[in-house]
């Protein structure tokens, strides 16, 4: 607003300093008025009169500035008097005065900006990590006992829910999983052929591609895609239900949230991840074969011949790992969903956390499997 003008004029009367406030004392002029008010020098012990005759418009911020000045001066030992307040502004001044004095809120500031704070932070994070691992283990226990209890009454398990989850996590993920593994197969075959040609071993391109996809890449890529696609969805769905108190409502009706929400998702993922891995393996090898044919001219009979030289165990290694990865993704996704506090912000934060944790644990578990299989010489 262009017409805003507020003034503060100092003058001396016998025995008192007069501050004449005039114009529009509004939030729009507050910054300027604040600067001028802070610049006023009042000798200690001198009487101060605040003359309000010239004020045209006043809002709560303007009124508060006047009252702050009065309060500050009084605290410093100056006697303060306000005069010529227009009657129409009286209720406003009274109301702001009645609100009382409230200290400005401290801004939240991360405590770890000092060295000691940084070290303390490392400790905090480590302890929190330990606590979370313990808590996830507890959740695993709860889910396991619920699953065992339900194994005796399999009818309580909702097939509709499992099938619906399988559609969402499996069928709907099929195009992206297939496309990505196909491309990875193409890339490995293409790059591998280049390297192997240096040693005159380009004939092994098919074995290289097939072995890496069957043993590692097929299942790992599928698990990572599902962690991002379905694990995050689990956290967001369950988290939103917590925000809406739907989980509490379930408990009061006598439904067990683990039974109703976690088990269908867990079982669905344990079924779909192996199936998706199978498709992923197929598409990866198909991509690799296509590339081997295009770059090296390896035809179908020769290709199948190469494939048959791969150890038969290789076909199973990825598939064996997949249900374990499914358990990790489903458990972490659901666990983080239950951790949501009653705010929308925590849904977002925990969804991110769930994806990162799931991918991390999948890869750690995969490393464990590697050691295990190599100890078995397969």
């Amino acid at each position: 607003m262009a017409s805003v003008a507020a003034t503060l004029v100092e003058s001396d009367e016998p025995g008192a300093l007069v501050l004449a406030a005039a114009g529009e004392w509004l939030v729009a002029t507050a910054a300027e008025l604040d600067r001028r008010l802070r610049a006023v020098q009042v000798p200690g012990g001198k009487r101060v009169t605040i003359d309000l005759a010239g004020i045209d418009r006043l809002d709560t911020t303007g009124a508060w500035l006047l009252l702050r000045t009065e309060r500050d001066l009084t605290q410093r030992g100056n006697a303060v008097e306000m005069r010529n307040l227009q009657p129409s502004f009286e209720p406003l001044i009274d109301q702001v005065r009645a609100a009382g004095l409230i200290a400005p809120a401290r801004h939240p500031r991360p405590a770890y900006h000092t060295l000691a704070g940084f070290i303390a932070r490392i400790g905090e994070v480590t302890l929190a990590l330990g606590g979370r691992a313990y808590s996830i283990l507890g959740f695993f226990g709860v889910v396991s006992t619920t699953a065992l209890r339900l194994a005796r009454h399999p009818r309580r398990l909702s097939m509709t829910a499992i099938v619906a989850q399988m559609e969402q996590t499996g069928v709907n993920a099929l195009p992206i999983v297939g496309l990505l593994t196909f491309l990875i197969g193409v890339v490995i075959a293409y790059q591998g052929a280049d390297y192997l040609r240096v040693y005159g071993l380009e004939g092994y391109t098919v074995q290289l591609t097939a072995a890496s996809i069957l043993r590692e890449l097929g299942v790992l890529l599928t698990a990572i895609i599902l962690a991002g696609r379905s694990g995050s969805a689990f956290t967001a769905q369950i988290g939103t239900m917590r925000v809406n108190e739907e989980i509490d409502a379930m408990r009061t009706i006598g439904l067990d949230p683990v039974e109703v929400l976690v088990l269908p998702r867990l079982y669905a993922l344990m079924l779909t991840l192996p199936m998706l891995t199978l498709c992923a393996n197929f598409m990866g090898i198909f991509g690799g074969g296509l590339m081997a044919w295009a770059v090296l001219g390896i035809g179908i009979p020769e290709f199948l011949n190469h494939l048959s030289t791969i150890a038969s165990w290789s076909y199973w290694i990825g598939m064996i790992k997949s249900p374990f990865f499914a358990i990790i993704i489903a458990l972490i996704g659901c666990y983080e969903g239950f951790q949501v506090a009653r705010s929308a912000e925590s849904v977002g934060r925990l969804t991110t956390l769930s994806v990162v944790e799931a991918i991390f644990l999948v890869i750690v578990t995969d490393a464990g499997f590697s050691i295990f299989f190599s100890a078995l010489h397969i």
């Binding site: 939030v27 910054a31 702001v96 609100a99 009382g100 400005p104 809120a105 801004h107 705010s343």
Partner: protein, 272 residues
């Protein structure tokens, strides 16, 4: 934007709102005058909140004109819209506080957006706004998720009042509050109105609020508004309006209001 009391500050003409095949408002007219407290009531789903959202420009009407401060918000440039938005404050149903910010930071958001202020002054202004809406000392440091529903509403009001607006829109300000807190909220609105000359547009279900602070009441029935003072509406023979004001709750609110304020003369016409 100074103006004379008594001039219409919000003017709605021929408003039509439709969602799919369902018509919510059909040729609705409304004038809100400067300095008044207007209460909007109506059954659940009758379109009270939609009306509020249409006036503040969050919902594009199918037909009709909405003027605030004498100009059509929809037909303005972005800069003019910002200018208008400085002069109103909106309290949403659950406060709609930004959950990643503390209460004080929430109040500072509009200040930061529109004015170039030193940080210290902004903190001080946020603190006194916390006091004005009756929140206890120390609330400014808390996050919305740490507050009760009533406190969130007060904090939302503090943010709505941050720029000392001329109009405040309140969407069910007392819903979900205990009767004592609701009563305090009514007093707060009434005091702010009288000290600041605020215009208040209040969607409410709360009969006590209506009797306590509203100058005029607009009832949303049959997709239109029936507007009048309480005395006029108490005489209205429309079945919904009649059962609204003369049902057990309406009578109780009327009775307690009459007893407290001693406005017997004014209410004597009403069959109690």
């Amino acid at each position: 934007m100074p103006g004379q009391p008594g001039e219409p500050i919000i003017r709605v003409r021929g408003l039509v709102n439709r969602f799919g095949a369902e018509t919510i408002h059909d040729g609705l007219d409304l004038d809100v005058f400067r300095g008044e407290v207007l209460g909007v009531v109506g059954g659940s789903g009758s379109g009270k909140s939609v009306l509020l959202r249409t006036i503040i420009g969050l919902n594009r009407p199918v037909e009709g004109d909405v003027e605030v401060f004498g100009s059509n918000f929809r037909k303005m440039s972005d800069n003019d819209q910002r200018e208008i938005e400085q002069h109103w404050g909106v309290l949403f149903q659950d406060g709609a506080l930004f959950s990643s910010l503390t209460v004080a930071q929430n109040i500072e958001v509009p200040l930061k957006e529109y004015y170039d202020m030193p940080l210290r002054l902004m903190d001080e202004i946020a603190a006194f706004k916390v006091g004005i809406v009756g929140l206890p000392d120390g609330t400014g440091e808390k996050y919305p998720s740490q507050l009760s529903g009533g406190m969130r509403k007060r904090a939302g009001l503090a943010r709505a009042l941050a720029l000392d607006p001329e109009i405040v829109f309140l969407d069910e300000p007392t819903a979900g509050l205990d009767p004592i807190a609701a009563g305090e909220f009514d007093v707060l609105i009434r005091d702010l109105r009288s000290s600041l000359g605020l215009t208040v547009f209040m969607v409410t279900h709360d009969l006590d609020s209506l009797f306590a602070i509203c100058d005029r009441v607009a009832v949303l029935v049959d997709k239109k508004l029936r507007i009048g003072t309480l005395e006029q509406l108490l005489q209205d023979n429309h079945p919904w309006i009649h059962s609204y004001f003369h049902g057990p709750r309406g009578r109780a609110a009327l009775l307690s209001e009459t007893r407290h304020t001693g406005k017997e003369g004014m209410r004597a016409t009403a069959p109690v």
